[in-house]
Subunit: 489 residues, 2 copies
């Protein structure tokens, strides 16, 4: 392998030499001579199987979407976007990469997962890591203090100084609407508040500097037992066992508004200013959620912590509830499918004068949802159409390519979704088979006789029924049969 690497280096250098000579407009003889050397080196090198295999992949952590997967994705996005629009959101978009400085110091532990770009002799750039930080940068840059927007069909945020908990309640309503519409099974939205967490840690005796690391231990409670979390806190993170036990008494609790009221009476917690504020807001939030008819989907869960540094108030996370696996269906893992919270400090980090713009938002875990929907469709062996073609323009005899081209063009111009096979003389059977495979419902068949009579034979692919339709009525008949509203391109 070392030899191969050396040879590759030689090929590269010789290639550069040849390009250099060409640029310098060296004599044709000299270039030819050097090209000869290059070709010999390349022949010595031979084909590189491993290299070919290496090229034929996407980068780690990324994937392609096939037409079938995209069809699923489009349906999911359609549900999400319709919901965002129903709630009066505008759309914005920001670039795929940002200045490195824009992203620095916003994500805590997650920062190391950010991709940096190579310096191109100009700015230091990084690929965006989420849509929230670019959104905050956008607000500060454009001096906006009020906006309700969505971003790439998955992130929704409300920015502005409003009366407490009304936008927060709408975010939770949106989450519930989307998860219900997607029909991916029962779900529960866990709610907590950063201020309650911080207040709780304070009264339990955790030092300020350990808040974050103890927070991340607590966050594991949805996956591992309290015993394990306690071991981590005491063994790895140096917490006194009695402090851990006090935390344990709190974080193992979850419930509805009654738990909020109970904690408001808690002699210690109610003495902590931060916790008291958080609990008061949660109480108000539950009132609004009841008016929105979603209080039964919400669980106040003291173990919910959320990783990102920028949250400052209410936080939430939607999880799917495990359902007994149905016949032929693989059991779906429980996990977060949507999350969000309030981040009142982030915009101020970008503003030169530190002016704050309170924000609350949510993000839909579209990748996870795609996988769930895909898996379900596969289990049901459901066929997914990847095009919307209404009719295939076909011919039963030879030498009718020109007529097919004319007809398909007429249909396109009338707004009909139409295709033809790119063959001069395709067999009728092949044309019909194509429709079956692609799920195209209609075939418009041209023949010598039909041309003379001024009609087109319209065939239904599933019923195999055929009727002659006058050419001037064809567009209307296709629209009628495929239920497409009249719309001109």
């Amino acid at each position: 392998m070392a030899e191969r690497a050396a040879l590759e280096e030689l090929v590269k250098l010789q290639g550069e030499r040849v390009r250099g000579l060409k640029q310098q407009k060296a004599s044709a003889e000299l270039i030819e001579e050097e090209v000869g050397k290059l070709l010999k080196l390349k022949a010595q090198l031979g084909p590189d199987e491993s290299k070919q295999k290496f090229v034929l992949k996407t980068p780690k952590g990324t994937r392609d979407y096939s037409p079938r997967q995209m069809a699923v994705r489009e349906k999911v996005f359609d549900v999400i976007i319709r919901c965002f629009k129903r709630h009066g959101a505008e759309v914005i978009d920001t670039p795929v990469f940002e200045l490195k400085e824009t992203l620095m110091g916003k994500y805590g532990e997650d920062s190391k997962l950010i991709y940096d770009l190579k310096d191109q002799g100009g700015e230091l750039l990084s690929l965006r890591y989420d849509l929230t930080v670019p959104f905050a940068r956008y607000l500060a840059m454009n001096k906006l203090t009020n906006i309700k927007r969505y971003h790439i069909a998955k992130d929704f945020d409300i920015a502005g100084n409003f009366d407490p908990m009304i936008p927060d309640a709408e975010c939770l309503k949106i989450m519930c609407e989307i998860l219900s519409s997607l029909q991916i099974g029962d779900f529960l939205v866990k709610v907590n508040d950063r201020r309650i967490l911080d207040g709780m840690f304070a009264i339990c005796g955790v030092s300020d500097s350990k808040f974050r690391t103890i927070c991340s231990s607590v966050d594991k409670l949805d996956k591992v037992s309290w015993e394990e979390v306690k071991n981590e806190m005491v063994g790895e993170k140096g917490l006194a066992p009695e402090v851990a036990d006090r935390i344990g008494d709190y974080v193992q609790q979850h419930g509805g508004v009654s738990l909020v009221e109970q904690l408001l009476q808690d002699p210690k917690l109610s003495q902590n200013k931060q916790a008291l504020e958080g609990l008061g807001d949660l109480k108000l939030l539950f009132e609004y959620l009841t008016l929105f008819g979603i209080d039964d989907k919400i669980s106040f869960d003291l173990s919910l912590a959320r990783g990102l540094d920028y949250y400052t108030g209410v936080i939430y996370e939607a999880v799917l509830l495990q359902t007994p696996a149905q016949a032929g269906e693989e059991p779906l893992g429980v996990g977060s499918v949507a999350a969000g919270g309030r981040y009142d400090g982030l915009v101020g980090m970008f503003d030169p004068k530190g002016r704050k713009v309170p924000c609350v938002g949510l993000s839909i875990g579209v990748e996870r949802i795609f996988s769930i929907v895909e898996q379900r469709l596969e289990a049901l062996e459901e066929k997914v159409r990847t095009t919307e073609t209404q009719v295939l323009v076909a011919s039963a005899q030879k030498k009718l390519l020109e007529e097919r081209l004319k007809l398909v063009s007429e249909l396109w111009d009338a707004g009909i979704k139409a295709e033809l096979l790119y063959k001069k003389n395709p067999k009728l059977l092949n044309q019909l088979q194509y429709c079956e495979e692609a799920g195209i419902p209609l075939v418009a068949i041209i023949g010598e006789q039909e041309l003379k009579d001024g009609v087109i034979k319209l065939r239904s692919v599933t019923s195999r029924e055929e009727v002659n339709v006058r050419r001037e009525d064809l567009v209307e008949e296709i629209k009628r049969r495929t239920g497409q509203p009249l719309r001109i391109c």
Copy 2:
């Protein structure tokens, strides 16, 4: 400035020291002491205006899209996607970045414009530069030989071994449909063929090694005069003047199918195998374009060259024709708004066995089109709605927040696009003003009396007419007035 940089470095180092101590669980006293030092250093450093300004921007060459710009973009994309679907295309998607090797050696001169990512201890990655090379990588990786697809609402391609010029003609038809639908003014599609260009260069006496560089000179003919191009060829690129003149005789010609026929009779050009193939195909292409009713939009232009290395046959580029500037409208520059061509060799570059998949495609210059549409809307001072909200839920009196929340929730659940102001007690005037600004057509007003009577006051924002609607009829009435088809979320 050098002093500032040194101070910044000290702050950074001290910050790292503090973080290290925290991780090592050093004593609280020690940490406090070190934090104190850090704060002093920071105070010394003071605020950095230049740095703040630096952060508040997007990377060079990128931009944000505001809600207004996104509304324009959505309309443009809607036209494009509807056309692609009309032509039976599937959708695929590929990652934002690719292995560096995937992109290397595919773009010729343009390669230096590719952004590389920093090595993250794994693979060498680059941001994708277009959608064509990732598409070819996708085909080779999935061993696909046949597909008609679009990609991010701007790139459309047909891959497969078909009878000549049928898919190529459809690509040109698609280009014309989209540009007509967008109503951005008159346009012309220039068509040429790489094989005609290569054949022409050969018979004029250009050496193989100079094809590409002479090609790039020729490509400038849409911007500068023939004299200037000739000067570049002879002066900078070392072409003999008589060779340049021979090229000039060809590349200054453009026309319709009659020019194709004339060149087929050209005693020299018709002797060149490549040129003959290209001309034969163009003749056939024009037949199909006539059947598609777009031959009047097409100009065979021997000066069209196209930069990218991967084209192998027909190439095309759509330009807007300069129209006399209308009153109040800035003159729009002429320029390419869509382009594409045939690239039969690209997939083979990725296939381990070099198997070829012929492809033809087009790309819409969406950024340019957005600017044109935006500029036009601005000139016309046309208001662009950035949301689709149908109704604002409002109240005329205080203490009706709960009732507003209940009603808006009912409307959302019925699929109505509705908003409310996030204020406990907003003034009616403010609520009406909000509708005027956001272009919301209806207001549903709740009052004490209306609640008692079981009605809602529905107000039209433009006509200011108000009628009482029974609460159970409200959804239907809003749908009727805003022309929304019945659709449940």
